[in-house]
Symmetry: C2
Subunit: 343 residues, 2 copies
């Protein structure tokens, strides 16, 4: 039976993860879960972010379920770079998978977009680019200060994620992949992405392709999100585009993600796209749907497509039944979805 590690993390993380576990437990009884106490509280208590011993233990699991990481009391970057990105990079989670669909019952902020019309997935590169941590500063706190951030991109890293995007497109109805970059300004990295994309595309004549600059893609996600099937892009562009995609499909309260190591060398990690939302933490107001759907992605990745599909269907029923404008209660949502799964 599957052994998963649970990192509930900060803010609303523990609340939404509790509901995801509730639902996983009924969808696939017997999943063994071990909790790891990581995040702001541990950092304040011990100064530790992610001890090597914990990293090693996590590596021994089949998958990781993560809530949220980040707290205003911790300097920016400490938990994000030291915990979240450390896991994505250490476990070579090069496919950051972020599906967005407009569910029946959910109102898009876009006037003309109807449920069922948007069904896209962003395949975001997860282990390179500006997230590599290559940067520095000189003459800090003086008028002469200079700070750099370097985007590192390899053929190895680009090709494997582009291949994953094409493989996913082949399993979808529309079979279309959009490459998003900024080749007209970032000419070196852009050229590497474009050439690699073209080479992989040539091996997939049954998949249609297009290229868009990131600014244009950001715009079209607002004006015509229906046009997209699979998007593939770099780490930072993917970060931004997936929040737009989430916004037009009902908000990050519904957006799930997987940081996937497709080779299976290391565990993959599943987490809602939303952050720790300290302003509403501990009040039972967070929508656990994103965490629950991340749990479904997790089960799917572990080969339990059936259990995953039952969770997804139950989420669909939950969303379709919501009265507009009524605030959600975290635990009640989890209860309803769990009941629906076992029905």
């Amino acid at each position: 039976m599957a052994r998963i590690a649970v990192v509930a993390g900060d803010g609303i993380g523990p609340e939404v993860v509790a509901e995801a576990r509730k639902v996983i437990d009924v969808a696939l009884p017997g999943v063994e879960a071990t909790e790891y106490d990581l995040g702001a509280a541990r950092y304040h208590r011990t100064g530790e972010v992610l001890p090597d011993s914990v990293l090693t233990e996590l590596a021994g699991h089949d998958a990781i379920l993560l809530g949220a990481v980040g707290d205003p009391t911790v300097p920016p970057g400490v938990l994000e770079r030291g915990l979240l990105l450390k896991l994505r990079f250490s476990f070579d989670q090069y496919v950051n998978l972020r599906p967005s669909r407009l569910w029946p019952g959910v109102t898009s902020p876009l006037a003309t977009v109807k449920p069922g019309e948007v069904d896209l997935v962003v395949v975001r590169e997860g282990t390179e680019g500006l997230y590599a941590g290559a940067g520095g500063a000189l003459h800090r706190d003086t008028p002469a200060e200079v700070a750099t951030e370097e985007s590192l991109n390899t053929r190895h890293g680009v090709e494997r994620v582009v291949r994953d995007a094409f493989a996913r497109a082949r399993r979808r109805e529309r079979r279309k992949v959009t490459l998003v970059h900024k080749t007209n300004v970032l000419t070196h990295a852009g050229s590497l992405w474009a050439r690699t994309f073209d080479a992989v595309a040539a091996e997939h004549p049954d998949v249609s392709t297009e290229y868009q600059h990131v600014d244009a893609a950001a715009m079209f996600l607002v004006t015509q999100p229906q046009r997209y099937d699979v998007l593939v892009t770099d780490n930072l562009f993917g970060d931004i585009l997936t929040d737009i995609a989430a916004a037009v499909t009902g908000g990050i309260g519904l957006a799930a993600s997987g940081s996937i190591n497709p080779d299976g060398t290391y565990p993959s990690m599943f987490e809602p796209v939303h952050g720790s939302a300290p302003d509403i933490a501990g009040r039972g107001l967070a929508d656990p749907v994103a965490a629950v759907l991340s749990g479904a992605l997790l089960l799917d990745q572990l080969g339990h497509a059936d259990a995953a599909a039952r969770i997804t269907a139950a989420v669909g029923a939950e969303l379709a039944s919501r009265a507009p404008g009524v605030a959600v209660r975290t635990a009640e949502v989890g209860d309803r979805i769990a009941a629906q799964v076992s029905a």
Copy 2:
């Protein structure tokens, strides 16, 4: 009298620039305009993108009116880096000013946003960041290829654009500045931006401030664009966010911009946010409003606030009078706005 250089450029550039000039001519008779033939056609004819002699001539003008640059027949980056960015950088146009408002008569793709409710301006840094052109590649076209792009940020460059944003906020009703960056990942550049922002904010106790990560800002521009007054951000984030802001306020057909050298050492440059749109070029279908409004920003920058205000009012009348769904004809729009200005 003002002497301006006109770079009509590629695609729809010449068409929309012709209308902008028509309107400028009636708003402020006597502006002397010199045309410079730069862009894809010249590149194909002569191999030249921006000869030094032309750069020197351009420097002698009071301002530059630019249409659009870019053509599918030219490798990505050649015209963008060699012409557009070369001008922005050579002329130290460090404030890339991009106002977005939802005009009466214009329908936002957002269901709940009403005309008059969105009125924001993005102050995008124009001379640093990932646009610096610092990057390279090794082992090109081999499996070992690596490509880098470096974001360069200086206290000098950040402080001057942040100061400009606060100065603009002081002249606006809401007096609010939002800093957008990604401090939790780009820790070096993010820290420089955040510390500089805080220092300048301390000198402006009458201006309220907030910070948002770029992914959150991209989302809020879709869900709550009303919340923003002035946004200040780096070159690449500004590129993406201004296309979203344009999308939610009726599209890039209406979005004007100025690449401004506030010190007056070099000419500032004014251009629509849209690109060359080769698919509709030469057919009289492009909306010239963005170019016309860029002309208004140009006149304002040169001290002709009155003429600028009359153009802006005439654009307002044009937009308010448009029947929904009717395609625009480039020259007719220019004629109507010009007639309104002289009325």
